[in-house]
């Protein structure tokens, strides 16, 4: 990063940091009345740039133009979220800001930290619960051409590569029992519980779920569309288990599995269960 850019970054307080979006819980909704095939809603996590404008907006936009001049197409095809948390701005000003950004080919897909009264139906939707990822390096002056080309061509790959190494944080180990009413939510990968999962508790994982104790609550594995995820538990008393949106309630489970060490996996559109060793 060149000194010049750093100066801009400090003076104009233009912060650019990617965040994860929409780690929604996966749910399966069945429309019973007319359609035989169930609709499946999938949660997916994307990386977006978060732009935090600073007052006065004219100066901030000038800084943005400066950045765009140095690297044409920097914002092209990148999802951008506008972070207006703590910004003293009214509805008209916010709308103008979104328009101004649109003119600069920066398409705002969502607005974070805005009061509901600031957002109209014609505005980008409100977003919340964004989790910070590593900061995004904007292209520095002098290396514009290569950088721009590299980022222009394979847009999707670049966005993923710029984010945190998702695979490296692919497991979560919980050493306490998961109590009723608690929810362990980890879309990044596998969850291992050393203890029991109580009735009324839930574990939601993007990968597999391992419970070294009694599974009494709910376990939802592979929620980010990972059909190869599995659920393992030392003692099965579960209320519900799901993999990639296909679920099995306690009523549908084989009665002889109760109280046994069990694994669950997805085969086609059906959950399969087997007693472990």
């Amino acid at each position: 990063m060149s000194d010049l850019f750093r100066e801009h970054a400090v003076n104009l307080l233009l912060t650019i940091s990617p965040i994860h979006l929409g780690n929604q819980k996966l749910t399966k909704i069945t429309i019973v009345l007319t359609k035989p095939r169930p609709i499946r809603l999938k949660g997916r996590s994307f990386l977006a740039l978060s732009l935090a404008p600073e007052l006065p907006l004219e100066d901030w936009l000038a800084g943005l133009d400066d950045l765009a001049d140095r690297s044409a197409g920097f914002f092209l095809r990148r999802p951008v979220v506008l972070d207006v948390d703590g910004l003293d701005i009214n509805k008209a000003e916010l709308r103008k800001l979104v328009d101004d950004l649109g003119q600069r080919k920066v398409r705002v897909m969502g607005i974070e930290g805005a009061r509901h009264s600031l957002l109209g139906p014609d505005m980008p939707p409100a977003m919340n619960d964004g989790r910070p990822a590593s900061d995004f390096e904007p292209p520095a002056e002098g290396e514009t051409d290569e950088a721009t080309e590299a980022q222009d061509a394979p847009a999707v790959e670049t966005v993923v590569a710029a984010g945190p190494p998702i695979q490296a944080t692919g497991s979560l180990v919980v050493t306490e029992p998961v109590r009723s009413g608690q929810s362990v939510f980890f879309p990044e990968g596998d969850v291992t519980i050393v203890g029991s999962v109580a009735s009324g508790a839930e574990v939601v994982a993007g990968g597999s779920i391992h419970v070294y104790g009694t599974l009494r609550g709910r376990a939802l594995a592979g929620t980010t569309g990972n059909g190869s995820a599995r659920i393992f538990c030392r003692k099965l008393e579960a209320e519900m288990m799901a993999i990639d949106g296909f679920y099995l309630t306690a009523e549908d489970m084989e009665p002889d599995l109760r109280g046994r060490a069990v694994q669950v996996w997805l085969e086609g559109h059906a959950l399969k269960t087997a007693i472990l060793g």
Binding site: R179, S180, G181, S196, A198, G200
Partner: protein, 271 residues
């Protein structure tokens, strides 16, 4: 500095107030200075169970709102002189409890007493969370049946996340008090087994209080059961629980198991 205990359960009617009074009285009968604080604003009962309902002038809400001084609101027990009660207000609601006010009252009580026992209301709302907030030790009161066990599990989760100790990264000391244990129903398999409850909740067992007419009789008399009849089965169970609370390693006996031979005999006859 005294220790703050919260007696909590999530579910109502499991015996929080009875246990708060009995444990408080048992500690005081051992010569410790004890105050039992009723947090059930709007539905107070502790004054009745402790036989002080006709002596309530000021209450917890009055103290918190600055309408009375703490010593004015404390009621000294007529039978045990080291036992005090801080009653709740019956006419206000739980919104009158403020976090700052509760903190001040608890801090003042800690200085003056060896044990501050907070009788939590049922539920997981304001009253219950404020009652547990400043606790050093939690006593989770549970009946051996599924709904009570699940609610207790929920409360244990809150004890590990919403209390001051948890927020400071410390571990809250938690004990299970299994109440209304009925040996006859346990014999028939109508109740959850002690081992099952312990396996689900996975916290140490402080004691098992048998279901008994003595408890009901004592409540109606306005006396903690440990004061009404020191020799009764529930009283002895509460006295044992207090010894364990003070750190004594006393094995827990499951009520009715000593009489297992007779139990089986009667069980067959009944069938």
């Amino acid at each position: 500095m005294g220790k703050v205990i919260v007696v909590t359960s999530g579910k109502g009617g499991v015996g929080k107030t009875t246990s708060s009074a009995a444990l408080g009285a048992a500690l005081a009968q051992n010569g410790e200075k004890v105050v039992v604080v009723d947090f059930d604003v709007g539905l107070r009962n502790l004054d009745l169970v402790m036989g002080a309902e006709r002596r309530v002038v000021y209450d917890l809400v009055n103290v918190i709102q600055g309408e009375a001084k703490l010593p004015q609101a404390l009621i000294r027990d007529k039978r045990v002189e080291t036992l005090y009660l801080l009653p709740a207000s019956q006419t206000r609601d739980k919104d009158n409890l403020t976090p700052e006010g509760v903190e001040k009252v608890i801090a003042a009580l800690k200085k003056a007493f060896d044990w501050v026992i907070c009788d939590s209301p049922a539920g997981i709302e304001r009253g219950a969370t404020l009652a547990m907030r400043h606790a050093d030790i939690a006593i989770v009161v549970t009946n051996p049946e599924v709904s009570s066990v699940r609610d207790s599990d929920r409360i244990i989760g809150l004890l590990d996340s919403k209390t001051l100790k948890a927020e400071n990264g410390e571990r809250m000391e938690k004990h299970l008090l299994l109440t209304r244990y009925d040996p006859a129903r346990a014999e028939r398999g109508d109740m959850l087994k002690v081992d099952d409850v312990l396996e689900i909740l996975s916290i140490p067992l402080l004691g098992i209080i048998p279901e008994s007419m003595d408890v009901l009789r004592a409540s109606n008399l306005g006396s903690p059961v440990t004061l009404a009849d020191e020799g009764s089965a529930p009283s002895r169970a509460y006295f044992d629980a207090v010894r364990r609370l003070k750190g004594e390693a006393l094995p827990v006996t499951v009520p009715g198991e000593r009489r297992s031979f007779f139990g089986k005999l009667f069980g067959r006859k009944a069938a």
